[in-house]
Amino acid sequence: MFDFGPFFDNIDQILEGFWATVRLAAVAAVLSMLFGTILVSFRVSPVPVLRTFGTVYVNVLRNTPLTLVLLMCSLGLNDELALKFSESNSTYYWWAVLGLSGYTAAFVCEALRAGVNTVPLGQAEAARSIGLTFGQSLRMIILPQAFRAVLAPLGSVLIGMIKNTTVAAAAGYAEAATKMKDLLDLPSFTSGALPLFIGVAAGFMILTLPTGFFFGWLHKRMAVAR
């Protein structure tokens, strides 16, 4: 039952799957941070339209199951409405990136908003009093301090995002968990399911544990002393 033979026999496929996971997670990490930062700027902005947009976006995306978001991207937007990034299969990769980033951005936004609330009001007043515009004080004074305050929670959001890549199969993108399922579905696969699960789980931990440690370390190192 605990024969890791099948796992290592198919290590090529599994590593290929994890490479696909890494490609998805890395780009989604960058984009979700970017979108999340833009969203939080909207949510704290003095312009009511932007604030409303930010609030609606966050509440819709945060409360929709990721599977639905990704299915809507692949089946709805790509297939049904023919909004394709390319004619090849890479269109599904990009839809998976966009869906996952758009979803994760809502959580990044909320983490950052908690961070904005830790920055004393006086910092913004001082920024305004030397003539910085709202955008400048957000960019140079508020957000840098907000980021530093929530690095550890942002690490958790990223860990969640990395694990959520397993849902990308719904967008027609094959990553590590899809490969695993494909292997399990092979008629020739008769035993060794448990070792396969354990192996793939360990693979994810190799990605997520350092992420968590790194952000925890960064959080301590970058903390703003008051």
Partner: protein
């Protein structure tokens, strides 16, 4: 004491003309009203501050001193009346307002130095990002200012590494770096340990001597006597008395001011 709308003169004995002759008005506050919900915190405030003049605003807590100070660079929006700085009315929002604020220095009770930036970066941020000066030039000027307030050796430290008095002097340098037309001080020494009050007041006295136009909300009567040309006594959202420091402290005209002074000067 009346508080009727449309009365041109503030309810004080002194007129606005008894300042330095030949220097025009720099800050003009006219019929300013402000509410916090039900609370009427500024009631028909009229005040003129001339170029080079140092005005000290004193009075009991909750009298509207800080609110008046903060409304002059629109950190607090006002409900009615006008505030002119150098002949121009305060713009409502946006870039215009930011530009005007750059000309009005502000020093806060709690210093409010940017916590994630060094002292030098605190002082150069405005000149570089708002005035669009070069970095080298801004740093040179910043170090001169830090030297002037006596903390040039602290330039590379972060705010939290400095004492309160040093932080406040850094905050003054940060404001001065913008070459402001007028400086607002909102209780600059109230959050300081007693032994650090004088180092800040000395810097402020030096500024006053150099001809900086200053509006200072403070409880430091010694500073008011030493550096101010005018004392404005505020209570219950009104300017109750406007007077010279000597007259005010020895021979206040209003009972409200006499009462206040008797409470703070007898021990």
């Amino acid at each position: 004491m009346t508080d009727s709308e449309g009365e041109p003169e503030p309810a004080t004995g002194g007129g606005p003309q008894d300042a330095i002759p030949g220097a025009g008005p720099l800050v003009v506050v006219e019929h300013v009203d402000k509410h916090f919900g039900e609370l009427h915190v500024l009631k028909d405030i009229n005040l003129t501050v001339n170029r080079g003049e140092v005005v000290v605003v004193i009075g009991p807590s909750g009298g509207g001193k800080s609110t008046l100070c903060r409304s002059i660079n629109r950190l607090e929006p006002i409900d009615g009346g006008t505030i002119l700085v150098d002949g121009r009315e305060l713009p409502k929002e946006g870039k215009e307002l930011a530009r005007l604020r750059a000309d009005v220095g502000m020093v806060f009770q709690s210093f409010n130095l940017f916590a994630h930036k060094t002292i030098l970066e605190n002082v150069t941020l405005g000149p570089i990002k708002v005035r669009k000066q070069g970095r080298a030039e801004s740093e040179k000027h910043a170090l001169e200012l830090l030297d002037r307030v006596g903390i040039a050796d602290q330039a590379q430290k972060y705010p939290v590494q400095l004492s309160g008095g040093q932080q406040q002097r850094a905050a003054i340098a940060r404001s001065l770096a913008m070459k402001p037309k007028v400086m607002l001080f909102d209780e600059p020494t109230s959050a300081l340990d007693p032994e650090m009050v004088n180092e800040v007041l000395d810097v402020m006295t030096g500024l006053a001597r150099d001809g900086m136009t200053m509006i200072v909300v403070t409880h430091e009567m010694g500073f008011a006597r030493r550096a101010a040309q005018k004392v404005v006594f505020m209570a219950d959202g009104q300017i109750v008395e406007e007077n010279t420091p000597d007259e005010f402290f020895t021979n206040a005209r209003t009972d409200r001011a006499k009462d206040f002074l008797s409470k703070i000067l007898t021990h």
